[in-house]
């Protein structure tokens, strides 16, 4: 019996690596600390009522952003581990198979569990406020999306200490990700972690499309909508067309591994190239899904801090829609070298180059918005200014990669690694940071410290260029991606060392950001205005943090920058139209079903990973039961009475008005 337990445990838990034992210990300690802390301060009820069961878009958004910061930490530690291993030739810090696991988890976590939730967090906290809505279209579904993401992310991260991490790269190409070459459970964690959170992403896509199309404040025509919701709309359109492909593709890979199917296997008539086509039909739109909202954020910030109307509003909108459509027509540029033939390669090279045009249009629009503006350089604007040259140069190396014949040289080299980090960090990460700094006062009612923020900004930027510029050169010198070590004879060590130092700078920059948050909380200076940047759009017209119902009375919109125009009208002494009378506000009730149902998914996924039917089946039954309970519940909304609204408003606006 004891022998059995021992042999089970030695396979179930990842053993033999001191770093992983360290992680085991810290996971147990942190969990204990949380449990003890919550019990000691009697906060369980509070946590459950205020957060775990909430359907309030603002709280859900904050939970998304917290989760994404934790994931940024984990992905960042992975990155530093890899850079440490590559700092010098012949290092023996990470073994080959461990290195494979680290780049795989780094890639997956950064894209799916850092960038995506960060983006959804910003969608949630800002879109309803900007379009003058009281919530998203489907608040219950919104909570479910969050918890599905959370379950999927936990499942994926568990592989680090239980069963073993996936190691087939962030897109898990077969045949290597198939059962024949990869018999462990790592790839199954990969499949179910992404599958469960992916369903959540798909639902969020639907949710925000409907929210934006159907819930705008009266008078806000689509062409008067601020640019951020437009970018969210174009990103969500790409989500609803691409994520179903991911769902289907992962399901097929799972059937190969679990049920012995032959979709992508080498034997039985399977076709691995089919997978590579399908996964990139999702994968390429995915990178535009995460960068489009960043474009929207920059547009908001540029016009706020240049104190000018956004230049070329219409061309901005069309550029984003065109990018979102074109992103579906370029997927094969990821495998020019795989023998599709000259005609196919030419087509995909051309479509790829075409994307540069709308992107260029956007860059010029931002520049023209700044032109002759009275620019101030607070941190959100700094990130925006840092972004433009970074993204333009990163985009240009992308155009180089799109030249199919040249790509035979660049393909899968460090040139590529440098390129995608260039656009992803310079575009997506800088963009979301900018957005977080910009909207932080709206979320929490105080600004983040500017001085520490500037340190973080400069450290990030210096670190970024130090880390990735040498990698372009390394790529041209022949260093391929995903190598875990190299010899002295290659002549690569100087560049690699510089690159590692740069990565260290970014690590320190991240610590500065954490310190910035702690410092700003400690020296809290409450923003009483609700409008600390002299903003232009509706979210700045209400107190910070926004009350549960956002708007006591729905705003009537007549201009593109409605709040700015409203302030002008007030300053000109124009008569402010009388406030409409308050009415009871219709609100959704909190629900425990989303978190319970997601936990059931988690259990089912865990059962699938280990082929434990005794866990899978109850898990799936739990999922169905949750759906039915929800369907049979007709008592899921309530009204906030007028006197309560009056009371909240007068408290919030005491100082404002």
């Amino acid at each position: 019996m004891w022998e059995k337990v021992k042999s089970f445990a030695s396979e179930f838990f990842v053993t033999g690596d001191p770093m992983i034992y360290g992680a085991d210990v810290s996971i147990v300690l942190v969990t204990l600390a949380i449990i003890v802390g919550l019990s000691y301060f009697k906060k369980w009820g509070w946590l459950w009522r205020e957060w775990l069961t909430t359907v309030d878009h603002k709280k859900i958004g904050i939970m998304y952003i917290i989760a994404s910061f934790i994931m940024l930490f984990r992905g960042g530690v992975d990155a530093l581990l890899m850079r440490a291993q590559l700092a010098m030739p012949n290092m023996e810090f990470l073994a080959a198979d461990h290195y494979n696991q680290v780049f795989t988890t780094h890639g997956v976590i950064m894209i799916l569990f850092m960038a995506m939730p960060f983006m959804f967090g910003l969608f949630n906290v800002i879109v309803p406020l900007q379009i003058g809505a009281r919530d998203v279209a489907y608040p219950f579904l919104n909570a479910l999306s969050f918890w599905l993401f959370f379950s999927g992310a936990m499942l994926f991260n568990l592989s680090f200490v239980i069963g073993g991490s996936p190691d087939a790269g962030w897109l898990a190409y077969p045949p290597y990700s198939g059962l024949m070459h990869n018999p462990g459970v790592g790839q199954d964690f990969y499949i179910w972690g992404i599958q469960i959170s992916g369903i959540g992403s798909l639902m969020t896509g639907i949710n925000f499309i409907v929210t934006i199309l159907k819930m705008r404040a009266p008078g806000m025509k689509l062409m008067k909508m601020p640019m951020f919701p437009w970018s969210v709309l174009s990103s969500c359109i790409a989500i609803i067309f691409s994520f179903p492909i991911l769902t289907a593709t992962l399901a097929l890979l799972f059937l190969d591994r679990y049920a012995g199917a032959h979709f992508f296997t080498l034997d039985g008539g399977g076709n691995p190239m089919m997978y590579i086509n399908l996964i990139w039909m999702w994968g390429h739109p995915e990178v535009y899904i995460i960068v489009l909202p960043a474009f929207g954020i920059f547009s908001e910030i540029v016009s706020t801090f240049a104190k000018k109307k956004l230049f070329g509003y219409k061309s901005m909108v069309f550029a984003m829609i065109i990018i979102s459509v074109l992103s579906f027509l370029v997927w094969a540029h990821h495998f020019f070298t795989m023998g599709s033939g000259a005609d196919v390669n030419a087509f995909f090279a051309l479509t790829t180059m075409l994307i540069a045009i709308p992107t260029g249009v956007k860059v010029f629009n931002w520049l023209f918005t700044m032109f002759r503006g009275k620019i101030t350089f607070e941190t959100p604007m700094l990130w925006t200014i840092g972004f433009i040259p970074c993204f333009v140069t990163g985009g240009m190396t992308g155009v180089l990669l799109s030249v199919a014949p040249a790509d035979f040289q660049f393909h899968n080299s460090y040139f590529l690694v440098a390129h995608f980090h260039h656009v992803i960090i310079g575009g997506v990460v800088f963009g979301y940071f900018a957005g977080l700094y910009y909207w932080w006062p709206k979320l929490f009612g105080f600004k983040l410290n500017e001085r520490i923020g500037k340190w973080a900004f400069w450290l990030w930027n210096i670190g970024f260029y130090l880390c990735f510029m040498p990698q372009y050169v390394l790529g041209l010198m022949g260093m391929t991606r995903r190598v875990y070590t190299y010899g002295w004879d290659k002549g690569w060590w100087e560049m690699n060392l510089v690159s590692t130092i740069g990565a260290g700078f970014m690590g320190i920059a991240f610590l500065f950001q954490i310190w910035q948050i702690i410092y700003s909380v400690k020296h809290l200076k409450k923003d009483e205005t609700g409008d600390p940047w002299n903003g232009r759009t509706l979210e700045w017209s209400i107190p910070s943090p926004a009350p549960l119902y956002n708007f006591a009375t729905l705003p009537q919109v007549s201009d593109q920058d409605e709040w700015w125009e409203e302030k002008q009208r007030r300053a000109n002494g124009q008569q402010v139209p009388a406030k409409p009378v308050l009415e009871p506000i219709h609100m959704p009730k909190n629900s425990g079903i989303p978190i319970v149902m997601s936990m059931c998914w988690f259990l089912a996924g865990f059962g699938f990973v280990f082929h434990w039917q005794w866990l899978t089946i109850p898990g799936l039954i739990g999922v169905v039961a949750c759906m039915l309970v929800h369907s049979f519940n007709y008592n899921n909304d309530y009204y906030i009475p007028v006197d309560e609204i009056t009371r909240t408003e007068s408290e919030l606006r005491k100082v404002t008005s």
């Binding site: 409907v210 609803i240 067309f241 399901a251 032959h262 399977g270």
Partner: protein, 210 residues
């Protein structure tokens, strides 16, 4: 509607209040709209599976191919069953518009029975095929076949459970804006599955045996 719907707590149902509440988005309409978008995403899932099937159709790995396996007679019967069930779900919606709850529940019940018959026939077909040694892991063609047809079957099964849940809710709450929306959505889903089946029938079975 002449009469206000009062739910079990004795309150006027919120959806009812809403339809009178101008300037607000109509919640039930919005849910239907969202469902249309969901259907689009489902079309893409099926599209992916169809594409996979078409690519892998010829890869029989020396095993049986479509023409060796499919018995078109049974398939035509189940096709008709599903088509008729689409028609009866339409009758259910018509009954709902007339305010006839009994007929509505009855027609939904008939639809669910036909759906169950369809699933039974499909399971039967699969058992028969497996008995002939044509399993999911025999060849890429069969992997794609079982996955495509099985995914459709799974959708029908989900629709079935859902329909039964709605029938029970109709019994409890009667025809209200909420249950009305639910009936609209399930019948939309049902028609959708019918359309997908037409494609399965044509691409998998008809083009397989011809």
């Amino acid at each position: 509607m002449a009469q206000r719907n009062v739910n079990h707590a004795g309150q006027v149902s919120p959806a009812e209040l809403h339809s009178e509440d101008h300037g607000h988005p109509d919640m039930e309409e919005m849910r239907k709209f969202g469902f249309w978008i969901y259907l689009m995403t489902d079309i893409i899932i099926f599209g992916t599976l169809f594409a996979t099937y078409i690519v892998l159709k010829g890869n029989t790995n020396g095993g049986p191919g479509p023409a060796d396996l499919f018995q078109i007679g049974g398939i035509i019967v189940s096709t008709f069953i599903l088509l008729i069930s689409s028609y009866t779900s339409g009758l259910a919606v018509l009954a709902m518009h007339k305010g006839n709850r009994q007929a509505l529940m009855r027609w939904l019940g008939v639809t669910a029975l036909l759906g169950a018959a369809f699933i039974a026939m499909e399971v039967n077909e699969f058992i028969h095929l497996v008995g002939e040694g044509a399993t999911l892991s025999t060849s890429a063609f069969l992997s794609a076949f079982y996955t495509l047809v099985g995914t459709h079957g799974l959708h029908v099964l989900v629709g079935l459970v859902w329909m039964i849940a709605i029938i029970i809710q109709l019994g409890k709450h009667g025809i209200t804006p909420v249950t009305k929306r639910k009936v609209h959505i399930i019948s939309l889903f049902w028609h959708f599955l019918d359309v997908v089946w037409i494609f399965v029938f044509t691409i998998v079975y008809l083009m397989g045996v011809s």
